[in-house]
């Protein structure tokens, strides 16, 4: 549920790009006669009997660098000189790659020799909204193949938006004897068969987290594939595996997993089954409740004491699930409310009356996710109690553009007044005002993530009828720590001039159906020096706007523009002028449409890359 802090640090390739020296450094160290102006003469004489000063230095450095874990620091260290680069490469155990196509797996394995943890991200985020045809790429296969050979001691793999097959999982399970943690977020391409193999072969497995991924039902009883005897399991999340599981096997697994802290079940685990699990694992800190409905209401037998089970879980701080909940049973969670720091109701159609008695006790909540079914009234209740709230996400129960929209600026403003420590907000609504945005910008100065989705496109301030420019302007101006921004509603170029003027720390910007002209894009590209990820859809930005960012694209992870007014010629010019940037152009479908003009660019996705255009691009993608 919580996004890793990995976003905060720069990734490997960025530093390789920025520094002109690094072009040489990025080559694997071959011979001493390579472009190494930094190799001291002393190094060349390897025959000396006493340790060379540089060797001593390297040893010292190696010991010191073991303590450096931040990617930023490590990247900086690697730029000092070639010797430092080498030592750093030998001591970097955790590698983060924000775009799997920014470098080849070979480059990774050449530079870093002792990787134990790999984080890989694949498709850009807009792929989540059907804006990208299937089979675009981001396959894990080449990465698992390369790392299988290079890093036998790999322990951790964390993938986001990658295409992972059962074969990939099998290779992973077979290649890494000490494998400990597998986390797949928003991935697809695999099924229960692959999971079964991982469960069975990775005897040191501590973490198996499948989050919002598409898992095909291979009709394999994967839970039974965990080996007999005590497991090392610390975290098991399978709420996205949408097939029934062998409950008896799950129960047995929980019983023999004494280190289990996080358990997220799927909707096929009923409330009474959940009860059995909780009774056997009172040490749990994080619980995903599955359906939260009893299997069947048995008349004769006594119902389990659910509240008692919750009461027994004294360490429980995080609750989620509730995917098919029965309202009568909701109060069972009351005993843990006071301890909760994280509560996710975002799959449950909870009304204000259901919420209020529960949220009243949640004084320590820091993260709260819900559906807009809680209404403004529910948000007011949250504001009244949850003074420690840091992150709020409110999703639409009815995710259509012209749905009713039970929440508005009223709930929004209440939150801003009650939850002053707010750092991150995602809010879907149908009505909003500039006044409410301004109020939040003043009340919540710690905001780093601000994502507002006014679902009806081009909606103005519903009280004044004016564009939402001033509201967003206040946000970027007053929230000085803002690193991520998503805008919506009726917005003119003015809003973007504010973003460019004040959004000096913004790294991720999401724009849809906004702006009047290329000037808007120019304001952003010229004004936001830290911008890394820019995703735009359905906005009137064309080739001129695109060119205004030529000086920036090397320093960005990617640019996405779909359904704008770009021309093929314009994109081709950009591709021509930027050698280390890959420019992909494709339509929203995987067919070839001959009847339509080829000049119109439906989607542009461009990103920097050290190893040039990828070789696995499908037919519908054109790399300019």
């Amino acid at each position: 549920m919580r996004e890793d802090n990995l976003e905060m640090s720069e990734n490997v390739e960025r530093y390789l790009q920025l520094d002109p020296r690094s072009a040489a450094i990025s080559q694997p160290p071959s011979s001493s006669s390579s472009a190494a102006a930094f190799v001291s003469p002393a190094n060349k004489s390897r025959n000396c009997n006493s340790p060379c000063p540089d060797h001593v230095l390297e040893n010292v450095l190696e010991n010191v660098l073991q303590f450096l874990t931040s990617k930023c620091d490590r990247n900086a260290v690697s730029l000092v000189c070639k010797s430092w680069w080498r030592v750093e490469a030998q001591t970097r155990f955790e590698v983060f790659i924000g775009n799997c196509y920014s470098l080849s797996p070979d480059r990774l394995t050449h530079r870093f020799k002792r990787v134990r943890s790999l984080v890989l991200k694949g498709k850009p985020r807009f792929a989540d909204f059907n804006l990208m045809p299937p089979n675009w790429g981001a396959q894990f296969a080449p990465w698992v193949a390369a790392t299988a050979k290079a890093y036998p001691w790999l322990e951790k793999v964390h993938l986001k938006r990658m295409f992972v097959t059962d074969d990939d999982l099998a290779l992973l399970a077979e290649s890494f004897p000490g494998f400990k943690e597998l986390t797949l977020v928003c991935c697809e391409g695999f099924g229960t068969s692959g999971i079964a193999i991982v469960a069975n072969k990775c005897r040191q497995l501590k973490v198996l987290d499948l989050i919002e991924s598409e898992v095909t039902d291979g009709e394999v009883d994967w839970i039974s594939c965990f080996p007999e005897g005590e497991t090392q399991l610390k975290s098991l999340s399978f709420d996205c595996v949408d097939s029934s599981i062998n409950f008896k096997a799950l129960e047995g697994l929980v019983v023999r997993s004494p280190f289990l802290e996080k358990l997220r079940t799927n909707r096929f685990v009923s409330l009474d089954e959940l009860h059995r699990l909780m009774v056997r694992a009172p040490q749990l800190t994080s619980l995903g409740t599955g359906s939260f409905s009893p299997e069947d209401v048995s008349q004769g037998e006594q119902e389990p004491d659910y509240a008692a089970a919750f009461r027994a879980c004294k360490s429980l701080v995080c609750l989620s699930g509730f995917k098919e909940f029965t309202p009568e049973y909701l109060p069972a969670i009351s005993p843990v409310c006071a301890n909760l720091t994280s509560l996710n109701f975002s799959y449950a159609n909870i009304s204000p009356d259901m919420l209020k008695p529960i949220i009243r006790n949640c004084h320590n909540i820091r993260v709260f996710w819900a559906l807009d079914s809680i209404c403004d009234e529910g948000l007011q209740a949250v504001a009244a109690t949850c003074k420690e709230l840091r992150e709020l996400r409110v999703f639409p129960f009815d995710p259509r553009e012209d749905s009713e929209g039970p929440i508005s600026e009223v709930g929004f403003q209440a939150i801003s007044e009650g939850c002053r420590k707010l750092e991150s907000i995602l809010y879907f609504c149908q009505r909003m005002t500039n006044g409410a945005l301004t109020a939040m910008s003043e009340n919540c100065p710690d905001l780093t993530v601000f994502r507002l989705c006014i679902m009806g496109r081009h909606r103005p301030d519903h009280v004044t009828g004016k564009p939402m420019d001033e509201g967003f302007g206040a946000i970027v101006k007053n929230c000085k720590k803002l690193t991520r921004l998503a805008v919506s509603g009726l917005l003119t170029d003015e809003a973007f001039s504010y973003i460019g003027e004040y959004g000096k720390l913004i790294r991720t910007l999401t724009v849809g159906f906004a702006g009047d002209s290329d000037m808007a894009l120019r304001y952003v590209l010229e004004g936001c020096p830290k911008l890394q990820k820019l995703e735009i859809r359905d906005s009137p930005f064309g080739d001129v706007g695109l060119r205004s960012g030529m000086h920036r694209y090397y320093n960005m992870r990617f640019l996405w523009m779909s359904s704008c007014t770009l021309s093929r010629g314009g994109c081709r010019d950009v591709a021509h002028d930027l050698s280390n940037v890959v420019v992909e152009v494709f339509g929203s479908d995987d067919d070839d449409d001959d009847d339509f003009t080829r000049d119109y660019v439906e989607t542009l996705y461009m990103y920097r890359s050290l190893d040039g255009p990828r070789k696995d691009a499908p037919k519908f993608v054109t790399i300019l």
Binding site: N130, P396, M455
Partner: protein, 232 residues
Amino acid sequence: MMAPLMNLKETELCLGLPGGAEAMESSAKSCIGNKRGFSETVDLKLNLHSNKQGPVDLNVAGAPKEKTLIKDPAKPPAKAQVVGWPPVRNYRKNVMANQKNSETEEAMSGGGGGAFVKVSMDGAPYLRKVDLKMYKSYKDLSDALAKMFSSFTMGSYGAQGMIDFMNESKVMDLLNSSEYVQSYEDKDGDWMLVGDVPWPMFVESCKRLRLMKGSEAIGLAPRAMEKRKNRS
């Protein structure tokens, strides 16, 4: 040209169950006891759209889209459902859809995931895509398509909002005109006129939509009828 259509009466395209003559006669508009819920498909109102005409036609009874219009004084009429908007992940949508399914015990749209089909319009320089599962009826779809390609006028669909197959001359007028007509490519690869099957069946079988000129659609009508005969 009239000849092939002279036998319309015999091979009548109707919206009732095959052999359900009574249902037909008592106007297919009655939906009580009708398993397929044809009221949605039949009781459709006209939606003629172009930017010039503005919201006038939405004042027809029962059009919910009216409300959104009033909220957007600064821009032209509210836009049609667009792919990927609002930006809610499929995973979340599927979870919610599954819940609603198990509540009603009736699969509204046959499982998760969208039913995205390309929509092309003869003469327009771009394609659009729609998710058929976002709409509950032919009317909804009609409205959405009209707005999507609002610079072109849609063929007049008569009081039912879609082609009134029972009225020969109306069909002829329509097919002969230069107004646009909705056609779709079904699972078998045949091009049919939209509206010949119940809505849920349409969602399942439609692979692609094409807005073609009425005069070009003439060839479709007899084939559509033929196929219908074969289906029943």
